[in-house]
């Protein structure tokens, strides 16, 4: 019955299929995608109302507020990364699939970034204008947010995989991820602040890029190992 010459689908088809399926699910259930985005937009618009509309203060606090809101919004969205797959048993099916698990985890994380990180990056210029951020700084902020949210999605996938079987694992997930996410927040917010003060800011971008590449190369393996452990 088995034809030994027939080969398994390539790992790229596995990667693409996982990402495509999650994007399709996000398309059919847009609420999950919009929730973190609303959270991000709400924090960023409420903050000026609370601290007062003085231009100086807004310019000073803008980068920090945008970055903290982006970090929290990403943490909020992480729970759904493996949660629904765990509940309907498709995570088990991924675990027994002939595709390498790190590749499938990477596919899922890529879809997660496209549906949570990328919308944040795209919306951030509109919110940045309310903080009187000059256009040149907005570009820097979008670049740092892009690199930062990629890193956060990848680091977050490890935490999401470790807490997948737990009920109400969000708090634990945040605790696990925050120490790893701190450098992203510090580098991201400070780089934007430096750019706003007409200072040299490229070092921060390089460091963020390095962190993103390091997580891209290591996080999928950690996620796969975590998934195996939490599904024992």
């Amino acid at each position: 019955m088995t034809d030994a010459h027939k080969e398994q689908p390539s790992i790229f088809s596995g990667l693409a299929a996982t990402a495509r399926r999650d994007l399709l699910l996000a398309w059919k259930r847009p609420g999950d995608v919009l929730n973190p985005l609303f959270f991000f937009a709400m924090v960023c618009t409420l903050f000026p109302l609370a601290v007062g509309p003085s231009a100086e203060q807004l310019e000073f606090s803008g980068p920090g507020v945008l970055w903290v809101a982006a970090l929290l919004a990403t943490l909020l969205s992480l729970n759904s990364l493996f949660g629904s797959d765990f509940e309907d048993g498709s995570l088990d099916q991924l675990l027994v699939s002939p595709q390498p698990l790190p590749v499938l985890a990477l596919g899922k994380t890529a879809a997660h970034w496209l549906t949570s990180g990328l919308p944040l990056v795209l919306v951030s210029p509109i919110l940045a204008i309310t903080y009187r951020m000059p256009m040149s700084v907005v570009g820097v902020m979008m670049l740092t947010l892009t690199l930062g949210t990629i890193t956060l999605s990848l680091l977050g996938s490890i935490g999401a995989a470790l807490t997948v079987g737990l009920h109400r694992g969000t708090a634990l997930l945040s605790l696990l991820i925050l120490p790893l996410a701190m450098p992203v927040l510090l580098l991201g917010a400070n780089t934007v602040s430096l750019a706003a003060g007409n200072d040299v800011y490229t070092t921060g971008i390089w460091a963020l890029g390095a962190y993103a590449i390091a997580s891209l190369s290591l996080a999928p393996y950690a996620t796969a190992a975590a998934l195996r452990i939490s599904n024992e």
Binding site: Q8, P9, A17, K28, Q93, V96, S97
Partner: protein, 219 residues
């Protein structure tokens, strides 16, 4: 098997040469020992039937066979090589019909099966014929959410039939199925075994089948 002076016994020889074999399996979950010193061997065309009451560890054994649980003692071998050393190859040879179907409720049947096609080697069967055989050809464009539990199980069976694998792991395959559905499952298993396939089935009802059956009665 560990090196030793005496020759391996007849049972051990059988365990080593079988396609799927296990020796001296022990699994402890929490403080309960689910099984201890369990051996089995399964060859092409054979059915391994796991019997026992609810909660006796059938699903755990199934998960252990699929390489998802680490055992206290013992190893499961596929073609004489431990499963955990060749997990990816082994997973390419099996398909698992779990208690939870693993299908996405928001996607249609075709979208669900298309995803599976990108992960696992597919058989030469015509998908349309498989759908017709399972009686789900009219449900292709509906999201799984709107299907009944039995229909969803039939979609999971379609996934199984479309995969080109020798080993079927079936955990309670008769759940939610009507009388014809149960008969159909038995026919499908018989066909599969007839084509030199193998099947591990956990069931708490009697299974009558015209094939070599190895029974494991779990306590």
């Amino acid at each position: 098997m560990c090196p030793r002076n005496s020759l391996p016994s007849a049972t051990e020889c059988k365990l080593l040469t079988a396609k799927l074999s296990a020796a001296n399996l022990t699994l402890i979950r929490g403080e309960r020992c689910l099984f201890e010193g369990l051996d089995f061997a399964l060859d092409n065309g054979g059915l391994l039937l796991l019997e026992g009451r609810n909660g006796c560890g059938k699903t755990s054994l199934m998960r252990a066979i699929a390489g998802m649980l680490s055992l206290e003692t013992g190893e499961i071998h596929w073609n004489g090589v431990p499963v955990l050393q060749q997990r990816q190859t082994f997973h390419g040879e099996l398909v698992w019909l779990a208690h939870r179907t693993g299908l996405k409720w928001d996607l249609t049947m075709v979208e669900n099966l298309k995803f599976e096609r990108s992960l696992r080697r597919q058989s030469d069967r015509d998908p349309e014929e498989v759908y017709a055989k399972l009686g789900i050809e009219r449900l292709k464009r509906l999201p799984l959410r709107s299907l009944s539990a039995g229909q969803q199980r039939r979609v999971a069976l379609a996934r199984m039939l479309l995969a080109d694998v020798p080993l079927w792991l079936m955990d309670e395959p008769f759940t939610n199925l009507d009388r014809e559905g149960r008969k159909l499952v038995m026919e499908l298993v018989e066909d599969h075994l007839g084509a030199d396939g193998m099947c591990v089935m956990a069931a708490h009802q009697d299974v009558e089948i015209d094939a070599p059956v190895t029974k494991i009665r779990m306590q």
